[in-house]
Amino acid sequence: MSVASALTERAFADRRMSDWEELDAILRKASTTRLRKLSKHEILRLPPLYRNVCADLAASQAARYSAPLVDYLRGLAAAAHTLLYARGGSFGRLRDGTLRYGWFVAFPRTVRARWRAMALAAGLFFVPLAIGAVLTLRDPSFAFRIVPEAMLRPLTESYARGFADGRDAGESAMMASFYINNNIGIALRCFALGIFGGLGSVFYLVQNGISIGAIVGYVTSQGAGMNIVTFVVGHGSLELGAIVLAGGSGLSLGWSIISPGDRTRLASLQSAAREIIVIVFGAAVMLLMAAGLEGFWSASSVPRTIKLAVGAALFLLLSLYVVLAGRGKGSQRSKSNQKVAS
């Protein structure tokens, strides 16, 4: 490649320096004050200046100018690139109400699209739960192998006391926060550890299933069975459903590595994760609602029949939502979204 006709570096720099400095000033302003603080003029200048710097960078590489000049231009171009090529954009989020779309369309759809993983997760959760309950009903001491006795006894006593006294507001708030911290933490971990081929999710699902089964079985064997059902029925569908969804997402994540189809394992993992995260967001919101119910409603002194009715209604609503929401309209949009995502 002949460079005989190229400018000297000094002349090149002198000629182009004003553009570079203008771009540099805009970038520095944007990095300290965010993009929206830029003036209209500066925003209009940004794309042409960026294109010019790209051209200058290419020219200076071809002419083999010295490394500092090339580095300077590369840094300038990289910083402008970061500013210009933001993903999706915060503007789109405001315009489309993506939050509503995510909750009423994307979440139920993604759950249905991955129903096999969800069904498997439900099996991995509810079968150990049933086993735990049955074994404990046969022999109550079985529960102590799963859950420490020191924890089971006070728990049973509190259920045996019933809910006639209710809970005061402070205790309700405390318990709700405890459930948020504990249950959402478990659900998120249950998803995240699915990265190890789904094994982490299997562990959390089975472990939580069998402990809940043991607790329910033990409390029932001590004669407070109706009370624990009354307690669980209100928030149960949301809470256990969310754990199953989080576990199913983890299984999906693991499966995307084990069976990547016609992509590389990494590409399959990344695109699956991008879809599945919607389910995890949804499960976290469900657990948030469940924690509120569990803290303020489930242990309140409301009569048993009302609690049972509300629990059944919630279960029905949740099932209908997962099965029916987001069908039909907007299918175009989800396709275009998927294209962007992949």
């Binding site: 190229a6 000094r10 959402i184 990344q270």
Partner: protein, 277 residues
């Protein structure tokens, strides 16, 4: 040509990213040490805030007028602490990175999270890479994460792999200072220096690197290094000088600054030493 550049990529921690304008940028990827410092700072900030909250609540608890009021304050306070702990563990990192692409700890160590294509990350990527923290910190002290970083070219932990992100040090080079010949070429040097010298890319860049570094070397080492290539280059261009480092400087100056249009002669441009940047 870029393919060639990529194939010949040196063994360092830079990652090349190609823009839609077919410009290739280098990002310097942050290593485990720098990232763990940032993480420790973030942990201090998070749990410092939680501790502060506990103290404030403890004072409020003591200030209650009746025992039942204090109990109520204690319970509400405890629930706030639980929420704060939850936020510190699951929300703090994701929220900062979703909005600004960096947590306060990363800001202090000038780190930034970008996608592997070099773009800012969004909510989904921020949430994913921070949820997967739960897997990375297993079995203890991020062992899984560090092993994973060691095994990937971009120092990605599991969370980075899943979210297709990487942590970079977005360093901006300061304005270029051209290399100049100091002292300017003397007449007797110019007399024997050929009018046009062409160096190939490797020669040019290695001489340039040498000239920029030479005042950091000892005088003996400088001569020793220069002598290694001064003779073959001098023979090829037909120029000889008793001082090999000076020979390289003269040859470089002539190759870079002469023989091009608008070229100021090297005598009119003895401007600056390559300043420390």
């Amino acid at each position: 040509m870029y393919l060639l550049l990529l194939l010949r990529a040196p063994l360092d921690t830079n990652v090349a990213v190609e823009s839609p304008e077919h410009i290739v940028f280098d990002y310097r990827v942050a290593g485990p040490a720098r990232r763990s410092f940032a993480h420790v700072i973030d942990l201090f900030l998070c749990y410092g805030a939680v501790t502060l909250l506990v103290l404030v609540i403890a004072f409020a608890f003591m200030g209650g007028r009746t025992p039942s009021m204090s109990m109520f304050a204690a319970k509400v306070g405890f629930s706030l602490v639980l929420l704060a702990l939850f936020a510190a563990q699951w929300i703090y990192f994701a929220a900062w990175e979703a909005v600004l692409g960096r947590t306060p700890g990363k800001m202090l160590l000038s780190l930034r999270v970008v996608t592997t294509e070099g773009r800012p990350i969004g909510i989904k990527a921020a949430a994913l890479r921070n949820l997967l923290r739960a897997a990375d910190l297993l079995p203890t002290a991020y062992v899984v994460g560090v092993v994973c970083m060691a095994a990937t070219t971009r120092f990605q932990r599991l969370g980075d792999l899943v979210a297709a992100t990487m942590v970079v040090v977005p360093a901006r080079a300061t304005k270029a200072t051209a290399l100049a010949l100091v002292p300017p070429a003397a007449p007797d040097e110019l007399a024997s220096l050929p009018d046009e010298i062409s160096l190939d890319e490797d020669e040019r860049s290695s001489i340039e690197l040498f000239l920029r570094r030479r005042h950091a070397l000892g005088r003996t080492r400088e001569q020793e290094l220069a002598a290694m290539i001064a003779r073959p280059i001098g023979e090829r261009v037909g120029f000889w000088h008793p001082d090999p480092a000076r020979l390289l400087a003269l040859v470089y100056d002539r190759a870079v600054n002469a023989g091009r249009t608008e070229a100021p002669s090297s005598r009119r441009w003895p401007a600056v030493v390559p300043e420390a940047r």
